[in-house]
Amino acid sequence: MDNGLRENLESFFQLAYPEFEILFSVADHRDPACALVDSLIKQYPHVDARLMVGAVDVGPNPKVNNMMNSYNDAKYDHILISDSNVRVNPDYLTKLVPDLDDDTGVVTGVVLGVAPQGFGGRLEQSFVNTFYARWMILGSAAGFPTVIGKSMFFRREVAKRFGGIANLSRYLAEDYMAGQAMLHLGLKVKHMTQPIPQIIGKHSFKDFWQRHVRWGRMRKMTAPLALFFEPLNGPIVSGLIGAYAFHKAFGISPLSFMAAHVAVWFLCDLLIMAAMKAEIDYTTPFFWLLREISSIPHWAHILAGNTVSWRGSRLKLEAGGVLAEPSVQRTA
């Protein structure tokens, strides 16, 4: 179960909005989350909530399969898909709904990593609150569909125009493809003004590494050029290039340049973290630097393969982020 799952799920029962329903999607009735959801439904009888158990096999993406029952059974046209590690504020829907106007296809947001535990958890938080936030903001400004599946708010009638979410099940990054499909419909991808809190919880270094190999390979297959130049969106490689250039051009000491460059980069990231109201303490610079240094071998690892491990399955990715169905090896 996700860290802080009860609090995360309970936050949706406490949403202050006139009319909504909550559908919890669980693939297997043996999932311990079922009992937790049942107890929350009993605890909040005035909230229209249901537990939907069972997956519909519409493609190789297990998350889409898991959502299909809820998606097909939802009462309302406006759909918010949210991961179980997201914890929302009571005014979340009040702020989210007005953003979905007629010109907008999907509303998503920048993720704010909170409550990390363990070494991997701190690295994960550093990744989410700096590099990931940077990419989301830059990508959005450049017109890329930077949609995250942690929070996707859209209209079912609009999604129907590209075949609904079932048509996204062939992709690992169903969120990115949903955003791309919305752009092809001439609609906008909008970011909420407030970040979406994600409870990071306990992660080992291995968890952190594998998780980002998976998402890195997804980026590799959906936007390979962007991944190729990804190291430039970090202080180490860009600093090395700058140090060499400034040394050649102006005779500035490479070490001095590098130190200044990394310091300025960190200050900029600190500004992003502060703007998102992220947790900052005296260890933040250490984990930030470690994450930035590890990003180089991480990037090389991402480039070296096309397979990912996800929810107990080994999946092979093809161009465009398509999951190669015949190669899916369910490991149970």
Binding site: R161, F162, L183, H184, L185, G186, A319, G320, G321
Partner: protein
């Protein structure tokens, strides 16, 4: 505003008696309208509609999303359009680059492309009574225009790899029930593929291909639209029922005409230059007396058939030099070129 004047002297421009028998029935106009100052006769066929068969969307290198294209053409009163995004070969460096830069259809995005086309076709019909045909432009060597080979597939339903050779691609398109339309880039291979394609794109954008016009091969005209500013261009007008199968059949049977469509005079057929009046008959490859010459404004007199066509349009963006070259060549060839005057305004 430009105008087209036609004057019928001794004979109908569409022939009389035995001569008229050469025209397909659908071309014998059923309704003739008096159009005041535009000239004595402008014919409107009851099932006539204008189409654009070559349009690129945001799925490849087009600027507009498919719904924006539907609204653009629907509001202008078009009867049919075909969305034909690039589908590039992937066995070359530049083909791979097109994939990386999202400038081509890929197997990954094709299902979403088809779903959006399907839903937009429904909306286009309900909102504008306009047919939307699914298509693609199979593109080889996309990096170099002079080496590029492009084949349009209309009425398709399945993804094709553009890596196969052109003949195989034509056959695959036709096997899907679609029509294969060769662009001018394939002209050098005409001997090999003429029997494999349903039509040739004789005009793309504002440019007419003289060789294709004179070839006797079936043809269509379209814009190759990438943005709204490309709307003023050659188009194809159909004389058939407005549904996908009828349109595909009309392409195969050449129940169509080539038109120069001017956006500023949108949907007003009185102001549309009709190539058949300038010498190209529907369903045939006959270039009558080579009467295409000069640039707008132009006057053409067909003494043999008693036809006089003159326009007083200014600011034309025709490829006038190409027209003139063609006229001169035909003059040398036949020695019987009609009186063609090109008054400069």
């Amino acid at each position: 505003m430009g105008r087209i004047e036609t004057k019928t002297q001794k004979k109908s421009p569409f022939g009389t008696g035995a001569n008229r028998q050469n025209f397909p029935n659908s071309l014998i106009f059923k309704i003739f309208m008096q159009v005041g100052s535009y000239g004595p006769e402008v014919a409107i066929h009851p099932f006539m509609f204008i189409s654009d068969l070559h349009i690129h969307s945001s799925f490849s290198d087009g600027k507009l999303a498919i719904p924006e294209i539907v609204d653009l053409y629907g509001k202008k009163g078009f009867g049919a359009i075909a969305i034909t995004d690039h589908l590039c070969e992937t066995n070359t460096l530049f083909g791979k680059a097109a994939v990386y830069m999202n400038r081509t259809l890929t197997p990954a995005v094709f299902p979403i492309y088809m779903e959006i086309l399907k839903s937009e076709a429904k909306r286009a019909w309900e909102q504008y009574q306009m047919v939307v045909l699914p298509g693609f432009e199979l593109t080889k060597s996309p990096e170099l225009n002079h080496r590029s080979a492009r084949l349009l597939g209309l009425g398709i339903s399945q993804f094709l790899s553009a890596n196969a050779n052109i003949v195989e691609l034509c056959r695959s398109i036709r096997a899907q029930g679609g029509v294969a339309i060769a662009t001018e880039t394939l002209w050098a291979e005409r001997a090999e593929i003429a029997s494999e394609v349903d039509a040739w794109e004789a005009a793309a954008g504002r440019k007419l291909s003289e060789e294709i016009l004179e070839s006797g091969l079936p043809k269509v005209a379209s814009s190759g639209l990438h943005s709204a500013k490309h709307l003023t261009s050659w188009k194809t007008a159909f004389f058939c029922e407005k549904n996908p199968q009828a349109i595909l059949k009309a392409i195969r049977d050449q129940e169509l005409r080539l038109f120069f469509y001017d956006e500023e005079k949108a949907n007003d057929l009185r102001n549309v230059v009709d190539v058949s009046r300038l010498g190209i008959r529907i369903g045939t490859d006959l270039v009558r007396n080579g009467a295409i010459s000069g640039s707008f404004p132009l006057q053409i007199q067909d003494q043999a058939h008693g036809l006089k066509v003159s326009t007083a349009k200014t600011g034309s963006r025709f490829d006038s030099k190409a027209f003139e070259r063609r006229g001169q060549r035909l003059k040398r060839k036949s020695g019987e070129l009609l009186s063609v005057s090109v008054p400069r305004v």
